[in-house]
Symmetry: C2
């Protein structure tokens, strides 16, 4: 790594952070946070429901504001950074994306499970046609090998993605896993395609993993103020600003402004502390979706087994979203094993 | 690193964690925490005032309990681990150490500033004569080069220390700094002397730095439940248990018991969340003693400069404890610079 590596930081306080406040940021909150972010040197400010465009629903959690009010509020105060929205095909539509662009969104990040890049084709293609900057987002990237991720990333790039992210949705990656995945993508993709990394802190490694990603050639890193995000949160922006400065990596971030916004604006708005507790640590350790937690706890209670054992087993079996039936099956099997041991 | 590296974990919840609760753990708290720790596979349980034996005082903060009651309570419940006490020469005395041994303490960690190992000679020597296990603790180890640390560590070993620790008191080390310091000590000390590492999380790197230390040959790692400790806290034991298990490092820790004790016993006793906030991040970024914080904030207020600039400048000048006069000098200089710029 050259001494003066230059990267850019995308802030996700107003998107991934929405999970941590049950999507309840108000128009005033959004304006306050987006303005502060816009003054501290981030290149992109992502502001969307936690589950992306169209996410505000009974299934994914109703937002406090309509999507229109929320996005317009964010875009109204962002002068320096690019207002950005997340879209998960299946939840958000091309129409949602068009409206978002009308509200002032300039970049779209299209997110799929790490083996399902093909479902991003239409959205990435349409976004490019609309003149939006496009980013592909490979979620749960810890579940598959670097080779598979390369194939999926190439698909996204071929659809028009200008950047592809390795996304550690469950905060389950050790540094080596980050290194091998980022370096594989950097080596395999056309040099015009940037590689990004999105961490979660469930194993206490968000800062170290983000640094490792930069060392392997990632030029786009996701952060959030005070780490506000799902599970144990994301890479805390103000901490990343400090360590990159110490390491001689240029981010353009203003360290003091980031510290002040984290402590004075974001922490007072938190519903719960962002920490590596039993739930978030188990999620990172097992490498499973956060949406499995509640189901696993219910099933574990029913069959009197430890919910952590259920989650660890689900992680081993690489169960993905849509296979929630497996959760009860696993709990039953564990109960039977437990009973056999007691005999 | 061999796949099955074996290390041992010293818990400091009841010593470094005492700073975070202003030394107010009761006899009941100590018994509850020490018992839980004793069941989860740590090799040593350090239980002392935050500033070590003799630390309970107006200057360093009065403990809720007398040293006698506190140590006896801890030792009364510890059956598997070694009850351990910290001692800073100048605060604690040889007599304090003798009394601690009478109360049941089996290991003494003698801590000095990283360039002052010579003041540990008497205490380490006496501890060995008393049949106690002895550990040397080189505080603020980020401030000097690996070569100097090697010289200081050799002194401690020559006095009889069976283990020497690199201590990142300010949480200021990047992973490379940990690697070069630990590998220097491992290479230079007699193979009968173990090398340990004590992290703080001020830069969000406690887990990564502790793993790096193990990779370089450290066999003793300090942790605390939920990271309870000064500043941004120590390496969280339960998280370290999870990452070492994922990495194939044998610690003997019981992950679920550690998670449960962190969430159910320690977090409810916290006075404040253990987090990387403006204060603790500045401390790690600047690389200064936590005891400077209050002085720096007072001086900064008086001269209307940013206290963080004062701390950063103190870090650059490598100011150490006892040189607190420098804090006002630095604030005055920064004020003058500021005024000159405004003209």
């Amino acid at each position: 790594m050259a001494e003066q590596t230059k990267i850019s930081v995308t802030d996700v306080t107003l998107r991934d952070g929405m999970h941590a406040v049950r999507h309840q940021f108000s128009v005033e909150d959004v304006k306050e946070i987006a303005s502060a972010l816009d003054q501290m040197g981030v290149s992109h400010i992502e502001a969307t429901h936690g589950d992306g465009l169209g996410g505000s629903s009974l299934q994914y959690g109703l937002g406090k504001e309509t999507e229109e009010d929320f996005l317009k509020a964010a875009c109204s105060v962002i002068k320096n950074a690019k207002p950005t929205a997340l879209l998960l095909p299946g939840i958000g539509t091309v129409d949602d994306m068009k409206r978002a662009a009308e509200y002032g969104i300039k970049a779209i990040r299209v997110a799929t499970h790490c083996t399902e890049a093909d479902i991003s084709e239409q959205h990435i293609g349409e976004a490019r046609k609309m003149g939006l900057e496009t980013v592909g987002f490979l979620m749960m990237s810890h579940m598959v090998s670097p080779d598979i991720l390369v194939e999926e990333a190439k698909k996204m790039a071929s659809y028009g993605a200008q950047t592809v992210y390795i996304v550690d949705s469950a905060g389950a990656m050790m540094m080596e896993q980050v290194r091998e995945r980022i370096s594989a993508l950097v080596g395999a993709l056309d040099s015009s395609v940037e590689v990004g990394f999105h961490a979660h802190n469930n194993l206490g490694l968000s800062i170290a993993n983000s640094l490792a990603a930069v060392e392997e050639g990632a030029t786009r890193i996701d952060c959030s103020l005070a780490g506000l995000g799902a599970g144990a949160g994301n890479t805390p922006l103000e901490v990343f600003a400090a360590v990159t400065e110490k390491r001689g990596i240029r981010t353009g971030l203003d360290l003091y402004k980031a510290m002040d916004a984290a402590d004075d604006i974001v922490r007072p708005k938190m519903h719960r502390p962002i920490q590596v507790d039993r739930l978030s640590l188990t999620m990172g350790y097992a490498g499973v979706y956060s949406s499995f937690l509640l189901h696993a706890f219910r099933a574990a209670e029913m069959f009197k087994v430890d919910p952590r054992d259920v989650l660890v087993e689900l992680g081993k079996r690489k169960v993905v979203g849509g296979q929630e039936d497996m959760i009860v099956d696993v709990a039953v099997e564990l109960e039977q094993k437990q009973q056999a041991l007691q005999k």
